[in-house]
């Protein structure tokens, strides 16, 4: 059917592809901690020690947890298993609201208190017109 050289080149491509994907897989696996953009409250709970480096935590802003003081903003990040209190002062993105995703960058004081230096709103995958949203809420 095909010549010997064609088969050889075919297997050569297969082997290259296999070895490269395997190495990329191993690299990503060993770097997992750096590939994730943020840690969830449960992952923070599981940390062996709290180091002083800047980290990012993320999850949902717990309903009725936002507390605005004069220059300080308090809210709770939850993944519905564990919770972390966040203290922050600074600019807040427009989409930051209760019941929505958030990523906070800053320092862990202890496993339930986080001092944020920057807040990013995480958007979810739902796209719909406002009318549909209100219709959904009425249900």
């Amino acid at each position: 059917m095909y010549g010997r050289k064609v088969k050889l080149r075919f297997f050569f491509v297969l082997i290259i592809l296999f070895i490269l994907s395997l190495s990329v897989f191993l690299i990503l696996k060993s770097l997992k901690d750096n590939v994730v953009y943020f840690k969830s409250p449960t992952e923070v709970k599981a940390l062996a020690e709290i180091n002083k480096k800047k980290i990012r935590i993320g999850g949902m802003v717990k309903n009725d947890s936002i507390l605005m003081k004069e220059k300080e903003l308090n809210f709770i990040v939850t993944d519905f298993k564990n919770e972390i209190n966040v203290v922050y002062s600074g600019l807040i993105p427009n989409l930051f609201s209760e019941g929505k995703g958030v990523v906070a960058e800053g320092f862990l004081k202890d496993k339930s208190l986080f001092l944020a230096t920057k807040i990013l709103a995480k958007h979810d995958e739902n796209y719909m017109p406002p009318e549909v949203k209100s219709a959904l809420e009425e249900k």
Partner: protein
């Protein structure tokens, strides 16, 4: 079997086709843009900035699609020694690269009002940037090798390297915590995007695909002229 394409025959098609493709592209793009910018509703949460998505997502899809096609053609071209496939890949690459840059830039513009940052080193965004680097590498490889055989080998190797990144881009939002939201459109399960927003998105995707086809035909035409000038009668 692919060896005996006659440049003259292909040339007669590729030199006439662009004007029809251009016409179709203009029609589809104007329908898509009016749908996306005027008729489609605003989003319940991001309001008007959702309209950036109608450029961002189709651009990202097109650049991923083109890279996959280039990889397929380059590797089969390398295995079966089909010169024509390399020329097709070479002519496809520039529009893929342009759409990659468009996806990155529009994503950045969308990210500022929505996330509150222009750029985040999360897995999806970083892997998209890496794809752009592979596009650059691919385009440079064609420039630096004068010898066609060397260019064929180098570019197919680059595409094999780069294609590993494509499933990483696709699944990055599922495998790791990312700032970028997961996919809204699923072929197998229900999409989490409303139909009134899905249609303009699909029309814009068709428009971008047609634009890539147009640029491809023009580039490919030039390649064929080069071959004719060299006096080769076969690809």
């Amino acid at each position: 079997m692919f060896k005996y394409f006659e440049p003259n025959k292909i040339f007669s098609i590729t030199s006439k086709a662009p004007k029809y493709v251009l016409l179709l592209f203009i029609i589809i793009l104007s329908i898509g843009l009016t749908e996306a910018l005027i008729f489609s509703p605003e989003d319940y949460k991001q309001s008007q900035s959702v309209r950036i998505m109608y450029v961002h997502v189709p651009a990202a899809w097109t650049c991923l699609g083109i890279f996959s096609i280039i990889t397929f053609l380059s590797t089969t071209g390398y295995i079966f020694k089909i010169r024509n496939f390399f020329l097709i890949s070479k002519s496809l690459a520039p529009s893929g690269f342009v759409f990659n840059i468009i996806a990155l830039v529009t994503g950045s513009i969308w990210g500022k009002p929505t996330w509150g940052t222009w750029w985040a080193w999360d897995a999806r965004i970083t892997s998209m940037l890496i794809l752009a680097l592979f596009y650059i590498l691919y385009l440079i490889a064609w420039r630096i090798y004068d010898d066609n055989d060397k260019a064929f080998k180098a570019t197919s190797f680059i595409t094999i390297l780069g294609i590993i990144n494509v499933p990483i881009i696709k699944y990055s939002v599922d495998w790791w915590n990312t700032l970028h939201q997961p996919a809204s459109i699923n072929i197998l399960s229900k999409s989490s995007i409303h139909l009134s927003m899905l249609y303009p998105l699909l029309i814009m995707t068709a428009a971008f695909a047609l634009f890539s086809l147009l640029i491809f035909l023009m580039k490919y035409n030039t390649e064929l002229i080069k071959i004719k000038n060299k006096g080769l009668d076969r690809l």
